[in-house]
């Protein structure tokens, strides 16, 4: 199972390498992952995304590539942990609550783009 998920730094390395094969002078722009520090990324998709970054980067007329990650479902519910931490570092009390967040959908990233190749599975399928 260790091959099922990819470490975040490795994911970023793979995307950058895929870009740099064809556009070594134009760094890949990655947005939407700024808050991710320690996560495991789906490996099968990592491979597909790697190929897709390379596919776009190798196209004629492309100056640079952006990779934007955004929630597929535009209203996400998050758990919020509010922690009171003592001077010795122990968590004295924690409150758990939720908050819903509205996100833009992909159309916000596609203004003016005519050629859209939607390879996503239907919602609910991996």
């Amino acid at each position: 199972m260790r091959l099922m998920h990819t470490k975040l730094p490795e994911f970023l390395d793979k995307m950058n390498a895929a870009n740099d094969k064809h556009l070594p002078d134009h760094r890949l722009t990655i947005r939407g992952m700024e808050n991710l520090r320690t996560v495991k990324m789906q490996s099968l998709r990592t491979g597909r995304l790697e190929n897709e970054v390379e596919e776009i980067a190798s196209m004629e007329g492309i100056d640079h590539v952006e990779l934007v990650m955004m929630p597929r479902v535009p209203e996400t519910m998050h758990t919020v942990v509010i922690k009171g931490i003592a001077a010795d570092g122990t968590v004295k009390k924690a409150i758990l609550d939720t908050i819903n967040v509205l996100h833009p959908t992909e159309e916000a990233e596609l203004i003016g783009c005519e050629e859209i190749d939607d390879r996503r599975p239907p919602i609910g399928k991996h």
């Binding site: 509205l102 959908t105 159309e107």
Partner: protein, 340 residues
């Protein structure tokens, strides 16, 4: 090519407020007259607007309820959000559920006595049936930057994070013509919009979560700040008074069949209608008192005013809307002819 008219509030500064996205109101009859389906018309509107937009389709012969439980003519039957000419296929459009009349329904939603007394045989729509949503988001549609919330009564641009509140009676005035009030929501309406009634497939809540006399906000004196500084377009206060009086005349009592919002309570107090003050919860009282609506004031029993007096003095009787400007809806909206 078939064309149809659209009532449009363009994005940008308009009548002294910031409109965060283009707002479009469509009449089902105009769409049918052009020989189009509702979805064809929505897509045609989306194609005509390069930026973010919220799109509401009305059946002006149907009826709906306000958040106070007042029944009115004209209902939104489908809502959409568009951006860059597109509509998100999964989250961009949603229909409101048609409500079937029955004695069982009337028993649990007694404010619907207005339906039988005032609008017999008319179709009723409020919010969507959750089962028609792909996943359980709230009553919202989103495409790109555009978000059309709470069954099409609140719209926002998620990227600029600007928002506008569009209570249903104000939208219906835009459809029918007549003056509207444009301003900031303020403290009183921030409190009032939380004093909802129990409805299945309601505009904000999908189930009968909050009963008359309760507050959906439950946030004490803080509730008045909720939407305070957000722009809004609402109906003339005389229109709100007229519709609320009609509900009171049907035997609906504030905090029993109707919500206990400052507007409903103020009209009932002015005319001497009964109010179920004992049913108002402590949490709701805290919010009401924070905007000056106290039990002592409601129990003063001033000399009852007539309907005509209340309509003539509605601006002084009904609190709400800060920095309000009364403008002709024709000044706020522009008519556009859309190619189908």
């Amino acid at each position: 090519m078939a064309t149809f008219p659209a009532r449009v509030i363009p994005e940008g500064e308009r009548c002294g407020i910031l409109v965060p996205l283009t707002i479009v109101y469509l009449d089902k009859r105009d769409i049918e007259g052009a020989g189009l389906s509702i979805d064809e018309a929505i897509h045609a509107v989306a194609r005509s607007i390069p930026g973010p937009a919220g799109i509401n389709v009305f059946d002006m012969e149907a009826v709906t309820t306000t958040s106070d439980g007042v029944m009115i003519e004209g209902a939104i039957i489908r809502m959409a959000a568009s951006d860059g000419g597109r509509i998100n296929p999964d989250f961009g459009m949603l229909s409101m559920a048609e409500i079937e009349d029955s004695d069982e329904l009337l028993a649990v939603e007694p404010h619907l006595i207005q339906w039988r007394k005032r609008f017999p045989g008319r179709r009723l729509f409020r919010g969507p049936d959750p089962k028609t949503k792909l996943i359980p988001v709230h009553n919202v549609v989103i495409t790109g930057r555009a978000s059309n919330n709470n069954s099409a009564t609140e719209m926002m641009n998620i990227v600029t994070m600007e928002e506008i509140i569009l209570p249903i009676l104000g939208q219906l005035t835009c459809m029918k013509g007549g003056p509207v009030l444009v301003g900031m929501v303020g403290e009183v309406i921030s409190v009032g919009i939380g004093m909802t009634i129990a409805e299945q497939y309601g505009r904000v809540f999908p189930s009968r979560q909050f009963k008359p006399g309760e507050t959906a906000h439950g946030s004490g004196a803080y509730a008045k700040t909720l939407k305070k500084n957000i722009p809004c377009v609402v109906c003339d206060k005389a229109v709100l008074a007229e519709q609320t009086i009609a509900a009171l005349d049907c035997g609906c009592v504030p905090a029993r069949e109707l919500g206990c919002s400052p507007a409903v309570l103020s009209i009932a107090r002015a005319m001497g209608y009964p109010m179920a003050l004992d049913r108002i919860t402590a949490g709701a009282w805290e919010e009401l008192e924070s905007v000056g609506i106290t039990r002592t004031w409601l129990e003063e029993h001033p000399t009852p005013m007539t309907r005509e007096e209340v309509l003539a003095k509605a601006d002084g009787i009904i609190p709400g809307v800060e920095r309000a400007r009364r403008v002709a809806s024709s000044e706020l909206l522009e008519m556009r002819e859309i190619d189908g």
